[in-house]
């Protein structure tokens, strides 16, 4: 038995703005008008204040590695070329992003990183090629 079904997920209010930002080569965060907390990926409401959010702003893109891993297996569990994945946080912003690390960079805790974008962008998390070491 197999289940044949495709799924389409709407990005919603906040993530649509985030994906539009990626298309323009920018990282967009949200800010709650009540508690002033910034968040990435952006939110359409504040989970602390239960307040709708209408304030979206670009952040510098300069982040730091919170933790990382190197996967030696593919999605189905079979052996694959090792790929390093980093969990990137941004100063003064809650949340963070999971993405690949530039293969020419050795991962380390607190490494300062910035996103590298593809030339042709469509509004997807994959518009970011990977994060690389920020000088």
């Amino acid at each position: 038995m197999s289940i044949e079904s495709f799924y389409e997920y709407p990005a919603g209010i906040a993530l649509s703005i985030f994906l539009q930002g990626l298309r323009e080569g920018k990282l967009i965060a949200s800010r709650c008008g009540k508690c002033n907390t910034s968040h990435i990926p952006p939110r359409s409401y504040c989970a602390k204040c239960l307040n709708p959010i209408n304030d979206f702003h670009e952040i510098t893109g300069l982040g730091f590695v919170e933790t990382f891993t190197c996967s030696h297996i593919s999605l189905d569990g079979s052996q694959a070329q090792p790929v390093t994945w980093v969990y990137v946080r941004f100063e003064g912003v809650e949340g963070g992003l999971l993405h690949r690390l530039d293969p020419s960079v050795a991962p380390e805790k607190a490494l300062k990183v910035r996103p590298v974008y593809h030339g042709e962008r469509i509004g997807s998390i994959l518009d970011i090629k990977w994060f690389t070491k920020a000088e």
């Binding site: 809650e94 949340g95 999971l98 998390i125």
Partner: protein, 384 residues
Amino acid sequence: MRRRVAIVGAGMTYFRSMQPLTPQELIFEAVRKCMDDCGLTLRDVEAVVAGSAPDAFDGYHHKGLLSSEAVDCLGRAFSRIYVGGGTGVGVAVAGWWHIASGVYDRVLLVAWEKMSHPYPHAQPLFRTIFDPVLEQPLGPNLIWIFALEMRRYMEMHRIGKELIAEVAVKNKGNALDHPYAQLGAKITVEDVLKSPVLVWPVNRLDISPTSDGAVALMLASGEEARKITDTPVWLDGVGACLDSQFWTNRDLGYPYYVYLAAQQAYRMAGITNPLKQIDVFEPYDPFTYKELHHLDALLGKPGLAPKLLAEGQLERDGDHPTSPSGGLLGVGNPIAAAGLMKVAELYWQLSGRAGRRQVPNAYVGVAQAWGDLMQVGQVVVCRV
């Protein structure tokens, strides 16, 4: 007025990687053993609380209903609990609500999993726990999230893989004494370190296996329990806690949601110093470091568990026996059934029925399960 709740019987099937049995047949076997253990029949059961992981594993819609015949549901209340990997202990927590509330006196708990249904492996199904817009396009497999957390945990407490590997050695060794275990074995730290790296720093022997299996427990109100058995094990504290679906909002080094669930259960059971007052610990151990990560939260002291492990205190004959059953690493990990197995182990340990696994002087125990995107905490405290 809250009523006291007791565990009066337990039963389980073998945990195996592929059992040529249907879910119904596995459930039947566990329920039958549980009923034999407490000397009741299904007619004595007033309500059933069932637990099983996502329907995707079976490719069968609303698979909770698979248990309906094996537990003879006609004429009784049935509910299915689902809180990810926390489901097994969550079933015991929900069973407690049924009786403590005064609504029912005799409640049957059953949890099962058939992870061998998806072909070739259950692994790709786990991808669906990740956010569909920002994370699934990256092609994540389940182990990533553990690897990110494990590295953060190792960094936070400056511990090496050699120490963490001791958890696999201990639990697989303990499982040699468990009659239903899948992966009891005598292994060394070197075996763990030399097993293939899957997602660094996670090696193959750091991970529990996929399994098929079922576990059943019988709960009764205080008054009923005394009629059924001379050796009830009291379910004196329950705690349940959920954190945000956004794992990127947490410090992965400490499962605060498990700490909060434990504190709820301790408050109810009158535990103020878990290290001194609890004799047996059954924290959730799907991965080696997870046992330490969770024990830290059950003790309310980040970084204490690795120290106790290094001193040998988590062994069955140590001061703080942890996973004397053999845990998920040794007994196996049929998701929902694995969590309820931990509660069953407390029942067997505290009522002196644990055979060769018996921990001396076991009066109070805690079991815990955890799940989903590092966000579910489910805890029960038992005592005799």
